[in-house]
Subunit: 187 residues, 2 copies
Amino acid sequence: MALEEGLQSVTQRAVAGQASIAPALVAHYVGSMDELVAETFEAIVGDELDEVAALLEAMPDPLARIAGLIETLLGGSRHDVTLVWVQAWSAGRRNEALADAVRRQMDNWQALIRDVIDEGVEASVFRCDDPAGAAWHLLAMVDGLNAHALVRWGAPAAQETAARRAAEALLGLDAGSLARTAEAGTG
Amino acid sequence: MALEEGLQSVTQRAVAGQASIAPALVAHYVGSMDELVAETFEAIVGDELDEVAALLEAMPDPLARIAGLIETLLGGSRHDVTLVWVQAWSAGRRNEALADAVRRQMDNWQALIRDVIDEGVEASVFRCDDPAGAAWHLLAMVDGLNAHALVRWGAPAAQETAARRAAEALLGLDAGSLARTAEAGTG
DNA sequence: TCTCCTATTGACCAAGCGGTCAACAGGCCG
DNA sequence: CGGCCTGTTGACCGCTTGGTCAATAGGAGA
């Protein structure tokens, strides 16, 4: 439900309706809607992270992983999750449980990206002084681009190109190497 | 009101209360709350843009402008505007008038940043093949970092550092030149 | 079979929302 | 002075939200 209509559609009555259950029963089990929203956020984003991690795991090398990461996160197939993120940043100001969950999941995402970068640096594929900073940079840019896409601003293809260029610069790669990797992976 | 409590606090009754006026009068004048919200967004963001443009205008050179831009946008004094942006991205999916306004203002922001970059390239201070793309990159990163800050994730000082490094790389500047410029501007 | 206990329900409450409408006030013009 | 017209109001409507509570149904165990 949150994926289709956003986090704010996670309401007693909507949940109850979906489960063919009385609204009071939802309230009876969850204690507070804020908690349920926080749990919902954490479940969605946790699943997304696991899914992407598994996807990256299946890839042969760090270069392909970074290319795959960008392609997956900016490909447009995850606008539903983006909406959840954006609403969580906003709602997190009123819902402390949600804010906690958001911070936790952001830590997880940054760690995932940093691991890929670390691996690439170790294999001498990437050149990067500050993997944690680079991971943060990429995460911020991806989040920003995705947020922009929510109101259909910016051409999707251009977004991926921009992100690849940024990643190449960040990781000391030759210009175009990520684009070629993505091409090879797709074709 | 939107700056203090977010766009979703812009409601008939709240506006009426603030203006010491009957709620019906608000409805009488604005036609629809969606429109009022869109106008509010446009006013807030338009003012912000004018303000920042004036600030940059007063600066001596493109290098100082980019440094000032980053300092201003990530300094933490604009979390209220960030909240408005984030809520607009989300609400723009249901409110087409708002979505239009958001796209318009994003165009304006990108144009502002691109102009600064163009100017720097012309003066041979920056080295950049794709000013429009670089402007977009910076905008996405700033938006992403600011969104993160809404739930108090990421140390503010580290954000500015990260953004400066990114800008230096994007614009062909020596590492640390923006930090020094900011320092000089502040002191 | 009867009891008890848990899961579940319906009926509420107070609050909030956008929007509509007839009624009213007060100033301006004839 | 009387009438009109614009600006303004209060009282609504229907709908939504989160949350509470007494009452009920139904199965497990004595």
